[in-house]
């Protein structure tokens, strides 16, 4: 994939994530204008980037979203849940496009209709055309022409294309058009008023229309006097006739389809006469005679008469052109007498014929019969009064925009030498704005401007300007971006480190943080580095082995000593290296948590429950592999909590609980592992009910029904096929959730615990290793083979006298600190028919391990050492051997099989 495109995708995904978060944050806190400004900024960036790669459907949806955000920002429409939904849907759509691009380097599906549906929905909310709450995506989206289908006023009824193409070209086109080989189209382009701020130039755009043969522009309504003219707002409408295919025209205007209407027009507009005007009455006779022939249906005589006159006329004359057209019409469309007559009348009146623009059947719009008035009349002004009032408000917002932009530029240049000229120009522009709104304190403005130049501080000027033109909310953000630019931070910064909003009054000292530079690196490169360091850590373990051989086998004690010394150095460096790379791999748990506000919002609305999500400890750092693996289990847990845990609002109210349920997602570090908790204040779980259900489903025996402890009963939910929900919803409750969660957590070397209080709520506690890359294993020996057991599983090791092992109900057990612990022979578990060995004192070596919240002792032949290894999962046919977690290479080059104790004991129990 093109590197730039890959960067675009990665950056856009980060942006989408941030947009989603900001929308949810703004939904909760409408008053915080910084959020909407930030939102607007990100959407704008995303739109700009998508434009670079020419994904018009994406750009258009983002453009429409941006417009909606502007309307919200300017308080033209109040923010609502529906707006949030619409924007989130639109962003999901953009995400879908990104997925497609990421998978195929380009868009493989035509998304235009879907994009149109989103744009239409956004547009309807923005225009308030329909009640906001009634907005819904139509099942079958209509085409984008819909907004344009509304009656449109065209300020002319006919045109005569006489100057841009030659007569020969016009006639050829005419023939093609009447033969149906091409269609003439009128493009009606109504640019939006704010288009200049988006860098658009409608006049340029329309002039570039493919195969344009005629064009003009009319002011929208009445152009005001120069004094009142707001030239930063586009109020011109453009009209262009083109012989291009409609698809080509649609493609040309693909970024602004909602502003353009393309209509087929009659080919008769091509009938226009060129040439030297010469003559007059002499042709009168011809016309009189010709009309007679026409009325009598004698086209042959008419043709002969016209041809004769043409032969006698100079080809460059206007009349010759008219006669050539006449002959063409007689030849090609003899049946259209009225057209021929109109040409004859045009010759008589010495003017170009004016055929109607649209064929009657095709006439698409209400055509204003009134010609456009360019110069304003007194009456017009009176009629336009309400519009003027609106314009005043718009004008103020434009002035605010201009001032904000100028302040931004000043901010960027403040500390750069040699930019005084640019700053003066900006001050001049602001002064112009102040003059335009008749501000009388221009002297004060100039003093403040001078002060800015002297002190390099914008604060005072901004405050004063706000008293004149109203709030300038963007300035905080603008200043922020100014800092960001000053610090020359690379463009593609780490997504987590979005600079926080900095108020103008914040002292400059805070900028030291921004000098931190971030580098965005492909994950696979870090993984590769990690693998290499892992190899290094393992291969360094060969040095003590070599030292041992040097001493014992070759008897070179000195060399052995030196080797050990070198090993200490390499060991230290390798450990530092390992620590360093570990830190690089550490990412905040917040990365996984980010997706939950949206999930909780959508699910709770779907289930008609009120749920608040509280996130804690998002900064807790975990290895990225753990973070990646954590997503799925957490989704299951949170879904379950909303679906089964939290009661409906009515039930909660009846029980005297707060109507709004709370789900707490918390992460924290505990000594050498990470704890992630999902806690809800819902109905909790009843162990007795769970036992009964499990019994009914045949998952437990009747004996177990009575003997299982409360905790064991609760753990039943982790058994495959267990589900308590009477009806499975489409969200959760199909009985595959909790066992899937458990196996996923097991897979990453973690454990899951459950605590519940009936009626009060449930807490799931996930204990996870901080890192997965380097595994700390205890090497044990049995039947003269070495095996590894992950240290995370090991509770303790001990020597236990053989005679103290007692048999209870055919199970070997020991009593360890007043607790009965079942004992298994590892040889037996591994299918080895060799009895375990004891030492000289007739003691067994026991490894006590965790198993399903209990402790189990394994009899082994002996303990070796504890080593750090890089665990490689078994591959190929070996991958199905679940009792092994993987393999590792030891210092002497031998392979160590690492046992999955959980699986081993589980396999034995079934």
């Amino acid at each position: 994939m093109n590197e730039l495109l890959a960067l675009f995708i990665s950056e856009s995904r980060d942006n989408l994530q941030k947009i989603g978060e900001d929308i949810l944050a703004y939904e909760k806190d409408h008053a915080n204008t910084n959020i909407i400004l930030e939102l607007f900024r990100i959407v704008h960036t995303l739109k700009g980037n998508s434009g670079l790669f020419s994904f018009p459907d994406m750009t258009r949806v983002l453009h429409a979203s941006e417009d909606l955000m502007i309307a919200v920002r300017d308080k033209k429409i109040p923010f609502s849940q529906e707006i949030a939904d619409t924007l989130l849907d639109a962003m999901d759509f953009v995400g879908t496009l990104l997925d497609d691009i990421a998978a195929h380097d380009q868009l493989t599906v035509n998304y235009t209709e879907a994009a149109n549906a989103h744009i239409q929905k956004i547009q309807s909310i923005k225009d308030g055309a329909i009640g906001v709450s009634q907005v819904a995506v139509p099942a079958k989206p209509k085409t984008i022409q819909v907004p344009a289908r509304t009656p449109l006023s065209i300020p002319f009824t006919s045109i005569s294309i006489s100057d841009t193409i030659t007569e020969q070209e016009a006639q050829n086109l005419f023939i093609e058009a009447i033969q149906g080989k091409c269609t003439l189209h009128l493009v009606i382009y109504t640019p939006e008023e704010e288009c200049f701020y988006k860098g658009e130039d409608p006049f340029y755009q329309i002039m570039q229309t493919p195969k344009a043969i005629w064009g003009t522009a009319y002011p929208r309504g009445t152009l005001p006097d120069l004094k009142e003219l707001d030239f930063y707002r586009c109020t011109l409408d453009f009209y262009c006739v083109s012989s291009a295919d409609k698809n080509d025209l649609t493609h040309h205007f693909r970024y602004i389809p909602e502003q353009v209407r393309i209509e087929p027009i009659s080919p008769y507009c091509l009938v226009a006469f060129h040439g030297e005007p010469n003559g007059g009455p002499v042709y009168g006779d011809f016309v009189t005679e010709a009309i007679k022939y026409l009325e009598a249906g004698d086209l042959e005589s008419l043709k002969f008469s016209a041809q004769t006159l043409l032969n006698f006329s100079s080809p460059n004359l206007w009349i010759s052109s008219a006669l050539r057209w006449l002959l063409l019409l007689i030849d090609k469309i003899p049946q259209d007498r009225s057209a021929i007559k109109q040409v004859l009348e045009a010759i008589n009146s010495f003017k170009n014929p004016l055929f109607p623009l649209f064929n009657d059947a095709e006439e698409p719009a209400e055509i204003s019969q009134e010609p456009a008035v360019i110069a304003p009349s007194q009456n017009d002004k009176e009629v336009e009064k309400p519009r003027e009032l609106v314009k005043q408000t718009d004008r103020r917002s434009v002035i605010q925009d201009i001032i904000k932009t100028q302040l931004k530029i000043i901010g960027q240049h403040l500390n750069r030498p040699g930019t005084e000229g640019q700053m003066s120009a900006c001050f001049f522009a602001i002064k112009g704005c102040l003059t335009a709104i008749q501000c009388k304190e221009l002297d004060l403005f100039e003093r403040l401007a001078q002060q800015v130049l002297n002190t390099k501080q914008l604060g005072a000027l901004v405050s004063w300007l706000e008293t004149i033109v109203g709030p300038l909310p963007g300035i905080d953000t603008l200043q922020k971006s100014q800092h960001a630019q000053n610090s020359e931070k690379p463009q593609y910064a780490h997504p987590q480190v979005q600079p926080a909003a900095v108020a103008p009054s914040v002292p400059k000292e805070t900028t030291h943080e921004e000098s931190v530079q971030f580098l965005k690196v492909d994950q696979s490169k870090i993984d590769h580095l990690m693998d290499l360091i892992g190899e290094l850590v393992v291969s360094k373990n060969a040095l003590p082995y070599l030292a041992g051989r040097a001493e014992k086998i070759y008897g070179v004690r000195e060399l052995s000593k030196e080797l050990k010394g070198q090993f200490a150095v390499i060991n230290r460096i390798a450990e530092s290296l390992q620590d360093a790379i570990m830190k690089v791999r550490m990412v905040p748990v917040g990365v996984v948590f980010q997706r939950f506000p949206r999930l909780v919002r959508d699910l709770s609305r779907k289930l008609n429950k009120e749920v608040e999500l509280v996130l804690e400890g998002q900064d807790t750092e975990v290895d990225k592999a753990i973070v990646e693996a954590l997503g799925e289990p957490l989704i299951h847990l949170v879904r379950n909590a909303i679906d089964h845990g939290i009661e409906s609002t009515e039930v909660r109210t009846q029980k005297g609980k707060s109507p709004k349920g709370t789900i707490l997602l918390r992460a924290y570090q505990e000594t050498n592992h990470i704890v992630v908790e999902v806690q809800d204040d819902g109905k909790g779980m009843d162990g007795a009910v769970l036992k009964q259900k499990a019994f009914e489903k045949g998952l437990i025996s009747e004996e177990q029904l009575h003997s299982l402890s409360e905790q064991e009963a609760l753990n039943l939910i982790f058994i495959s096929g267990f589900s308590t929900a009477a009806v499975a919803t489409d969200i959760s409750g199909r009985g595959v959730g909790m066992d899937a969660v458990k196996s996923m957590v097991d897979k990453i070397g973690g454990t899951i615990e459950l605590q519940t209080v009936l009626g009060k709520g449930t807490t799931f506690r996930l204990n996870l290793p901080v890192t997965m890359a380097i595994t700390n294993v205890m090497v044990i020996q049995t039947n003269k083979q070495l095996f590894g057991i992950p240290m995370s599983m090991v509770v303790e090791t001990l020597r236990f006298p053989r005679e103290h092992i007692t048999i209870i109900k055919n199970h070997a057990t020991i009593v360890l600190r007043n607790r009965v612990v079942p004992v298994f022979s590892l040889n037996k578990l591994l299918g080895l028919v060799v009895p375990p060995l004891t030492n000289e004192d007739d003691e067994y070596a026991l490894v006590v391990v965790h198993y399903n919240g209990e402790q189990v002792a394994l009899i082994v032949d002996g303990f070796a050492e504890v080593v750090d290894i890089i665990l490689k999962p078994l591959e190929g046919t070996m991958a199905s051997l679940k009792v092994y977690e993987g393999t590792a290479i030891l210092g002497d080059g031998s392979v160590l099989l690492v046992l999955d104790v959980q699986e081993l004991l589980y396999a034995h129990s079934i």
Partner: protein
Amino acid sequence: MPIVYKKSKAFFQEQVSAEEAEALLEWLQKTKHGEIDFTKAKHIHTAVLQVLLAGDIRISVWPEVTSLRSWLQHIFEKKHTK
């Protein structure tokens, strides 16, 4: 300079961008019946076009570039006939 102002005449040259609109507006406010010479103009930004349409101008020369000339003639000849 995309627009050169000489007494009552403004000469448009090359690409006339939106930034010229303000100065043109000021000039038109000061200059009654200002004359516009489009000879060397290659393109005129919409904002500038709007100012010209709102102003009291006379067009003395149309652009040499055919397409721009044709567009401007259609736009302005509705209002002015030289």
